[in-house]
C-alpha cells in the first residue's frame, strides 16, 4: 500500500511501472512527451525513459494506431494514447479492421493497449466528452475495459498492457482526481466485475465515470431505507455476467447506467442479457439510465444530459415500485 493518489497519478505510476518492467513497452501519441499529455498522465515519463520509449507523434490518430500495429509486429508492446474520446474516430478503421482482426488473419498477437480519456462532466467544448465504448465493445477481437477507481486504474492497466490481445482502455477523465490508496502488487483480471457496494434491493450496474454516481445514489437511497447494490463492470468486453447475475439473483431488479446515449448503448447489451438470463427472477423491467439520444450538448447543459443521482434513484424506485 502506498499513500492515496489520484487516478491520474495511478495511471502514471502504472505506465511507469510497465515501462520499467518490460523494455518492449512504448508510449506515444500527441503531446505525451515534454508536455506529459494534456491531462499530465504521462508526466515525467519521457524524461525518465527517454525519447525512444515515450515519444510525441505528428497529429494523426489513424497513423498512431497504425504504427502501433507495426511496432507490435516487430515485438513491441505499444501503449498509444488518443488525446480525447472524440478524436478516436479517425483511427476507427485501424482499430476495427486491423487491431481487432490482425491476429485472426495472421496468428500474430498484437499486445496493444489504446488509452482513451472518455466521458463528460468536465465543462469542455464539443468532441471532448464522448462515450464511444459501445462501438468498440461491439467489435469482436477487442477487449474493452474501464476503471472507476485509482486502484483499479493502476491494476487494470497493468493487466491490459500485459495481455497479449489488444485492449481499449477507457479512462473516466472526470474521475482523474479521485483519490485512493493503490497497491502496486494487485492485479485486476480482464473480464471480472466487482461489487462496489453491497445491497439487496436493486442492482445498479455501472462502469467508469458512472460508478461514483451510482455509489452516491446508493448512499442517498440508504437514507430512505432503500438498498442498492452497485456493480462496477470494469470490463465491458468480455462482460462478466456471473457477477451481474449473482447480484440480480439477490435483488431481482436491475438498472444499468452509462453516459453514452441509451439508444443502442452498452446498456442495451446488459439489459438484454439480464432480461434473458434472469427472466424468471426479475420482478421489474431492467431500467436504463444514460445520456439523452442527442449529440453531446454544450457544457452548460451537460448535467441535464448525463445520468445523475436523481435519475438513478428514479429508475431504482420505478424498479421497486413495479407491478
Amino acid at each position: 500500500m502506498t499513500e492515496a493518489v489520484t487516478m491520474a497519478k495511478a495511471i502514471n505510476l502504472s505506465l511507469r511501472d510497465a515501462l520499467t518492467r518490460d523494455e518492449n513497452v512504448l508510449i506515444f501519441g500527441e503531446d505525451v512527451g515534454a508536455l506529459g499529455g494534456v491531462f499530465r498522465i504521462t508526466d515525467g515519463l519521457q524524461k525518465a525513459f527517454g525519447e525512444e520509449r515515450v515519444f510525441d507523434t505528428p497529429l494523426a490518430e489513424s497513423a498512431i494506431i497504425g504504427i502501433a500495429v507495426g511496432l507490435a509486429l516487430r515485438g513491441f508492446r505499444p501503449v498509444p494514447e488518443i488525446q480525447f474520446d472524440g478524436f478516436i474516430y479517425p483511427a476507427f478503421e485501424q482499430i476495427v479492421s486491423h487491431v481487432a482482426k490482425y491476429r485472426n488473419r495472421s496468428g500474430i498477437s498484437l499486445p496493444i493497449t489504446i488509452r482513451v480519456p472518455f466521458g463528460g462532466n468536465i465543462g469542455a467544448v464539443e468532441h471532448h466528452s464522448e462515450s464511444p465504448e459501445a462501438y468498440f465493445a461491439h467489435t469482436a477481437g477487442l477487449k474493452v475495459v474501464t476503471p472507476a477507481t485509482p486502484a483499479d486504474a493502476y491494476a487494470l492497466l497493468q493487466t491490459a498492457i500485459d495481455d497479449p490481445d489488444p485492449v481499449v482502455f477507457f479512462e473516466p477523465k472526470a474521475r482523474y482526481y479521485l483519490k485512493e490508496e493503490i497497491d502496486p502488487a494487485a492485479r485486476v483480471p480482464i473480464g471480472k466485475a466487482r461489487v462496489a457496494h453491497e445491497g439487496s434491493g436493486v442492482s445498479v450496474i455501472a462502469y467508469g465515470p458512472t460508478v461514483s454516481i451510482a455509489l452516491q445514489a446508493a448512499k442517498t437511497a440508504s437514507q430512505e431505507q432503500i438498498s442498492l447494490e452497485v456493480i462496477d463492470l470494469r470490463s465491458l468486453s468480455p462482460l462478466d455476467m456471473d457477477t451481474v447475475m449473482a447480484s440480480v439473483r439477490k435483488t431481482h431488479r436491475a438498472v444499468v447506467v452509462h453516459e453514452a446515449p441509451v439508444f443502442c448503448g452498452f446498456g442495451a447489451e446488459v439489459a438484454a442479457r439480464i432480461s434473458h438470463d434472469a427472466f424468471d427472477l426479475l420482478e421489474a423491467p431492467v431500467g436504463r439510465v444514460g445520456g439523452l439520444n442527442v449529440p453531446y450538448p454544450p457544457a452548460r447543459y451537460e448535467k441535464l444530459y448525463l445520468p445523475d443521482v436523481d435519475r438513478i434513484l428514479q429508475a431504482a424506485d420505478a424498479a421497486l415500485a413495479y407491478g
Binding site: A34, L35, L59, A60, P90, A124, V125, R300
Partner: protein, 361 residues
C-alpha cells in the same frame, strides 16, 4: 524557398508578388490598390481583434469562459485573409479563427457563447458565409473542398477559404481534401497558419518535409509567405482567390507566423518551450510592424492610433457586457432543438419528457 519558384505553374499570379523568401515585394506593395481608408481598416481590425482576444482571455481567467484559444500574433493572417475575400466567399475555419469571424461581422459576444458552454455554433453560417468552428483537427478541410466543388457546379464565381494549422497538415483528411481539390479543380484557397506549434509539438516533429512543398504533389501551386505582414497575406489571398475565381483551381498559401500565447487557456507552454523562443517573433509583431509602415506612409498618426485603441477598448467592454448578460437558451431548445430538421416521433417524445421532467424538478 528557391524550390517554390520552380514548382509554380506559369500562370501563377501569386508568386510574382513575393520575394523568394516570402516577403511582399515593394513594387507589389505599392500596387495593391488599397486606399488610405482601406489600409487603415486593416490596422483597425487587427487592433480590434487583438483586444477582443485579450478580453476573451480575461473572461476565461475570471471564470466566464470555459476555455480560450488565443490567436495572439496571428492577427495579420486573420485580417488580411478575410479582407481579401468577397463577402459571398465562404470561410471554413478551425477553432482559432475568432478574429476572422469578427472581421466577417459575427458578433463577438455571440461567438463567445461557444466557449461559455451555451452553444456549439452560435452564428448562422449562411448569414456570414462563415462555417462553424471545427474542433477535430483538419476535418473541415474536405467540407471546404466540397463546398468549392459545389460552387463550381453552380457555375458561380465564389471561392472558398480553407484555413488550418501546421499540425492539421498531418491528418489524413487534410491530404484527401487537397487531392480532391486538385482533381476537381475546385475554387479553394488553402491557407495554412503555420504558427510553429501543435499544442506542444513543434513543426520539426510534425513533418520532416515542408508544407508548401506538398502542393505540387496535388497538382497546384503553393507559396510560403510572411504571415506577420498583413499586406502580404492580403495580397496572396487576393491573388489566389482571383485565380480560383477565374477557374484556375486551388492554391496553397503557407503563412509563417508564431503562436505567441499558450495553445489554449488549459495549456502550460512553459513545459515545452522557452520564453526566449518568442523573442524574435515579438520583434515581428504584425500590428507593430504595420503601424510603423503606415506611419512612414503618412496614413496614420498617433491620434488615429489612440482613437482606434480606444474603440477597441470599448468594443471589448461591450463584448464583455453583452456576453455576461446573454441569457442561456432554454435547455429543451439547446439540447434537442437543432438535432433534426425532421425529428422522429420518438425524438419528439424524448424531448417532451425531458422538458416535462424539468418542470417537475
Amino acid at each position: 524557398m528557391a524550390e517554390v519558384v520552380r514548382v509554380v505553374a506559369a500562370d501563377d499570379p501569386v508568386r510574382p508578388l513575393f520575394s523568394p523568401t516570402g516577403e511582399l515585394t515593394p513594387e507589389a506593395r505599392s500596387r495593391l490598390g488599397l486606399d488610405a481608408a482601406a489600409l487603415r481598416d486593416l490596422y483597425r481590425n487587427m487592433v480590434l481583434i487583438r483586444r477582443a482576444d485579450q478580453e476573451a482571455l480575461n473572461l476565461q481567467r475570471q471564470g466566464e469562459l470555459g476555455l480560450w484559444g488565443q490567436y495572439l500574433g496571428q492577427e495579420a493572417i486573420h485580417v488580411g485573409a478575410i479582407t481579401a475575400l468577397r463577402t459571398e466567399d465562404w470561410v471554413f475555419p478551425s477553432y482559432r479563427e475568432f478574429g476572422m469571424a469578427m472581421v466577417r461581422g459575427v458578433d463577438p459576444a455571440d461567438m463567445l457563447t461557444l466557449f461559455r458552454g451555451l452553444s456549439h455554433g452560435p452564428w448562422d453560417p449562411n448569414k456570414y458565409h462563415f462555417a462553424p468552428l471545427a474542433i477535430p483537427v483538419a476535418t473541415q478541410v474536405p467540407h471546404a473542398v466540397g463546398f468549392a466543388m459545389g460552387c463550381r457546379l453552380r457555375h458561380s464565381d465564389e471561392v472558398v477559404l480553407s484555413t488550418f494549422g501546421d499540425g492539421a497538415t498531418s491528418e489524413g483528411d487534410w491530404h484527401e481534401a487537397m487531392n480532391f481539390a486538385g482533381v476537381f479543380k475546385s475554387p479553394v484557397v488553402f491557407l495554412c497558419q503555420n504558427n510553429h506549434w501543435a499544442i506542444s509539438v513543434p513543426l520539426s516533429k510534425q513533418t520532416a518535409g515542408s508544407i508548401v512543398d506538398r502542393a505540387k504533389g496535388y497538382g497546384f501551386p503553393g507559396i510560403r509567405i510572411d504571415g506577420n505582414d498583413v499586406l502580404g497575406v492580403y495580397a496572396a489571398v487576393r491573388a489566389a482567390a482571383t485565380r480560383a475565381r477565374q477557374g484556375e483551381g486551388p492554391y496553397l498559401i503557407e503563412a509563417v507566423t508564431y503562436r505567441m500565447g499558450a495553445h489554449t487557456s488549459s495549456d502550460d507552454p512553459t513545459r515545452y518551450r522557452l520564453d526566449s523562443d518568442l523573442e524574435p517573433w515579438g520583434l515581428r509583431d504584425p500590428i507593430t510592424r504595420y503601424q510603423v509602415w503606415l506611419k512612414a506612409q503618412g496614413v496614420i498618426d498617433d491620434g488615429l492610433i489612440a482613437a482606434m485603441a480606444a474603440e477597441a477598448e470599448s468594443a471589448a467592454q461591450a463584448m464583455r457586457a453583452r456576453l455576461t448578460a446573454l441569457p442561456a437558451p432554454p435547455p429543451g431548445e439547446a439540447i434537442f432543438g437543432r438535432v433534426y430538421a425532421n425529428p422522429p416521433a420518438s425524438f419528439v417524445q424524448e424531448r417532451e419528457e425531458f422538458e416535462a421532467s424539468l418542470e417537475d424538478s
